[in-house]
């Protein structure tokens, strides 16, 4: 019994020390090269179904690099595997991969490459404009960016997180199938966590 109380107290103290020493706060991320951590990054999309509800889906394979520079010349590059689309229904995922939608065999990746990153007066990125290549079409897209936090992680690394959102029209990317049943506007949200290299 005494041993058990000691163990619990020790564990609580260890967690408190770890959290105190490594907490990631809302500080401004430091300049440098970052690699997107795919295990802590989500790419979600939302699309109207029959005009009655919004279907949420995601892509499970994402990679990319962020270069944060204090002079404002930051760059972002994100690559998403289209065959990793996941709408919580295996048969629908297969349909989404088919030529009706992403045509994932022919266009296995969608890629975003920034050409302008705007920062606020604290030096945080607030919007990213760049070229999105999807389904064989490349178009300019602007993402609104919200910095989430930055700081040291428990393993001695340094991480920064951002939420980015945008809305695209699938018809502009040559994805015209079922216009009546499936909405044209696709809301995209990226919850990115990146590790400083």
């Amino acid at each position: 019994m005494k041993n058990s109380i000691f163990k619990t107290a020790f564990s609580a103290a260890a967690i408190a020390i770890t959290v105190n020493a490594t907490s990631v706060s809302a500080e401004v991320a430091t300049a440098g090269s970052y690699k997107i951590d795919p295990t802590h990054t989500n790419v979600q999309f939302s699309v109207s179904h029959l005009g009655t509800s919004n279907l949420i889906g995601r892509f499970n394979k994402v990679a990319g690099d962020i270069s944060l520079k204090s002079n404002g010349d930051s760059t972002v590059e994100v690559t998403i595997q289209t065959n990793s689309v996941d709408s919580n229904h295996q048969k629908r995922d297969k349909h989404l991969r088919s030529p009706d939608f992403f045509n994932a065999k022919q266009y296995p990746v969608m890629k975003f490459v920034s050409n302008r990153v705007s920062h606020n007066n604290k030096g945080e990125p607030v919007s990213v404009t760049g070229k999105l290549s999807l389904h064989g079409v490349t178009k300019n897209v602007t993402l609104a960016v919200k910095p989430v936090g930055a700081g040291k992680d428990p393993w001695g690394g340094y991480r920064a997180g951002y939420d980015a959102t945008t809305t695209i029209k699938r018809s502009e990317f040559g994805m015209n199938f079922m216009p009546g049943g499936i909405g044209d506007d696709i809301s995209i949200t990226l919850n990115i966590e990146a590790i400083k290299q």
Binding site: H89, K91, K94, P99, D100, Q106, G180, G181
Partner: protein, 261 residues
């Protein structure tokens, strides 16, 4: 409702109306029967849009296939062996163009083997089309195409399934004529239908490569036109029906049947 209409118009209504019109004109000018494959084009354009001049996607090659194959039939007066060789070369080129976007970065031996099998089937179909002993070719091709439409729509892609379905609708009127006028020569000859057979095989390859249509049902769909066009019997279409029903049943029994539309 709007979605349903958008699906039925290009895959059933328009091709059936066009084939009825062509059948009516053919009563006065039989030469127009060479144009049967071309009346599939409005459905194709409706479903996939106007193809780029240099096709970017697999489906876009189908337009060039049907136009060139029909022109070969209509304008070149080739001897049987040369006709078979020309159509086979055209189909091999189109199949290669369809598969190239995948093959260029991921060489799949299985895919190449399947394309060789499709080419062999094409040579056999072309050979028997030149001999022309099938008694109900439109009926057999309509059954095969309709079945393929159902299999592909259930197994991966509604769009490619609709393309196959519209091919069946193009032949629907001529198939009915064959059923009604029993013991007579078919209105549309197997030679007229070579471009249709090629579109059929090309759609099957598109479905296999891009829509992940399962191998077993696809193999049965490959057998279906052979079964319907080679035997010189009035009941050859029954073999196509058996192949198609087996393919659909196979898919229904093995695939996920839950609905998500």
């Amino acid at each position: 409702m709007e979605t349903l209409i958008q699906m039925i118009l290009p895959s059933v209504v328009i091709p059936v109306l066009l084939s009825a019109l062509l059948w009516w004109v053919s009563r006065f000018y039989s030469v127009v029967l060479w144009l049967v494959p071309l009346i599939w084009l409005p459905s194709l354009v409706w479903l996939i849009g106007w193809p780029a001049f240099l096709p970017a996607e697999a489906n876009e090659w189908l337009m060039w296939l049907v136009i060139i194959a029909t022109l070969i039939n209509f304008t070149l007066k080739l001897k049987p062996r040369a006709l078979v060789a020309t159509h086979t070369l055209l189909l091999v080129f189109i199949l290669f163009a369809i598969a190239w976007p995948v093959l260029k970065y991921q060489f799949e031996v299985m895919m190449v083997i399947e394309m060789i099998v499709v080419t062999i089937v094409a040579i056999v179909l072309h050979q028997f089309s030149v001999i022309g002993r099938a008694t109900t070719p439109s009926l057999s091709m309509a059954i095969s195409s309709g079945g393929m439409g159902i299999v592909i729509a259930l197994g991966g892609s509604l769009l490619v399934g609709q393309l196959a379905g519209s091919l069946a609708s193009v032949l629907a009127v001529f198939a009915m004529v064959e059923v009604i006028r029993r013991r007579q020569q078919p209105l549309v000859s197997t030679l007229n239908l070579i471009p249709v057979m090629q579109i059929y095989l090309a759609i099957l390859v598109v479905a296999r490569i891009y829509a992940e249509t399962p191998l077993g049902p696809s193999a049965l769909l490959l057998v279906s036109p052979l079964a319907g066009l080679i035997p010189a019997t009035r009941y050859a279409s029954v073999f196509s029906v058996v192949s198609v029903i087996t393919a659909i049943s196979w898919l229904l029994l093995t695939a996920d049947s839950s609905s998500y539309y």
